[in-house]
Symmetry: C2
Subunit: 284 residues, 2 copies
């Protein structure tokens, strides 16, 4: 049974989880913990959480969801594990998995922790960004499942399945390597696209009338929160640098094709990449 | 009056215009011209055009919409102008404007031509991609309006206003310079993101389960047609190379910040670019 859930970090992900958990388990009391007082009050007003709480209160928790930025998560997790009861489970939802798994590898209560990364979100943040059904048909990457106590695994995975997540199991280092390509690089690509355009056009606001849905879609992630993304890039630095190097090489090669008037080459680059249609079509 | 409209190139843009024009002017006969026989037949079956026609038939046209790839457009336009009646208007809808304006600058029937770029579209192509109301509240850039005969201007702009376009007037070279930032660069950014990820992950299809909505949004334009985009990059080569150089510099700078563990700098880059929220919010 999950009678009490504590959400640490009542933002987009923590708040959306709170909404879906409440819907599935109406009798479960949802407590919110956040250093941002405004966020806690908003979450209460919006009915996302039932009550506010403090870190010390998690002793009584059946389930704790750690949904802070990843730098805070690695600091909090060992302390939370120190406090949690033998029957409580702490789950983190961060976008990097190696660091957090390493930090508690030898903790005596490692079995009370489950490392996961639900691949869901929007470019917005804070409790006002929380929405119902965010996790419907979304992939949830679970790391080191064998290190979590079996009864706690079952309790958590049942709950996450009922809110629509599809579980995938992966080694933390594999997760971090591949997520750099599938997510972290997209964010940098969008941020730097936004920067390039703003630098050029900031004094010519009329020019933004020329922004079509294509630009909006490609630059969308540049609205994301720097407070969330800076620690992700820090923790996944080596993988991110590698993807960025490959991206820059591909862009430079494309530029060289243009400079050399090799438009057959330009066509070929795009034609081969159209394959992304098949790949993205296949996963829906 | 517009009693006959000829659409040359019945793809996404030409087809969508055909649908909207028919809705506004039910008595107007819509003719389709396309070298791709399958596309013509699809357009007939879908009811996008009333009849198929040949280039020679445009003598009788009130309105001709030139919606081919931009390399074909610059070849066709002078011939079309040779054939058009004094009361007919030819409009092109290409994503580059300098070349096409230059090519007919001294044509004796220059006043029967209107150069424009409706900034609308999707990543799909062909008549099956054509949709109603594609141009609702979309910006339509008009170039060298003063070179088009006043009565023909009026006729065309009335029609395009009724299908929802918002007109903006711009010099062709200005258009090409700014559209490189606002549209062409987004496409290259998406294509090279797709390429980078495919190169790394093509043998690991499971990895694409990790693709969230963020990756899909950022890479969406990589589904676009190489046959349409190669001639655009060719005609706007100098501007595109310039934007690409600035984009690569910004990415390299971001990578250097990561390599130097300057995470304050990383935060600052993203924080400043969040300004894109205000800009894109402001144009809605």
């Amino acid at each position: 049974m999950i009678n009490t859930t504590y959400i640490i970090g009542v933002g987009l992900i923590g708040g959306s989880l709170a909404i879906d958990i409440k819907k599935q388990r109406p009798d479960c009391t949802i407590y919110g913990i956040d250093t941002n007082v405004q966020h806690i009050n908003e979450a209460l007003e919006l009915g996302i959480i039932d009550e506010k709480a403090a870190i010390e209160d998690i002793r009584a928790a059946d389930l704790v969801i750690l949904a802070t930025p990843v730098d805070t998560a690695v600091i909090l997790l060992p302390m939370l594990l120190d406090s949690i009861s033998d029957f409580g489970l702490i789950v983190d939802v961060g976008s990097t998995k190696s660091n957090i798994c390493k930090i508690v590898a030898l903790h005596p209560k490692r079995r009370n922790f489950l490392a996961m990364h639900p691949i869901a979100g929007t470019e917005f943040s804070g409790p006002k960004a929380a929405i119902a059904n965010l996790f419907q048909k979304k992939t949830n990457i679970i790391c080191e499942i064998e290190k979590t106590a079996a009864t706690l695994q079952e309790k958590a995975l049942n709950l996450f399945a009922t809110i629509g997540m599809r579980m995938r199991y992966m080694h933390p280092e594999s997760h971090d390597k591949h997520i750099a390509y599938m997510s972290h690089l997209s964010h940098i690509s969008a941020f730097m696209l936004g920067k390039t355009v703003i630098e050029k056009e900031k004094n010519e606001r009329d020019i933004f009338d020329m922004a079509g849905s294509g630009f909006e879609s490609t630059v969308r992630l540049a609205k994301s929160s720097p407070a969330m993304w800076t620690p992700i890039f820090k923790q996944n630095k080596d993988n991110v640098i590698e993807t960025l190097q490959e991206y820059i090489s591909n862009l430079s090669r494309f530029k060289a094709l243009l400079e050399n008037d090799d438009f057959e080459g330009v066509y070929k680059e795009m034609d081969e990449t159209n394959y992304i249609k098949t790949i993205l079509g296949g996963i829906r």
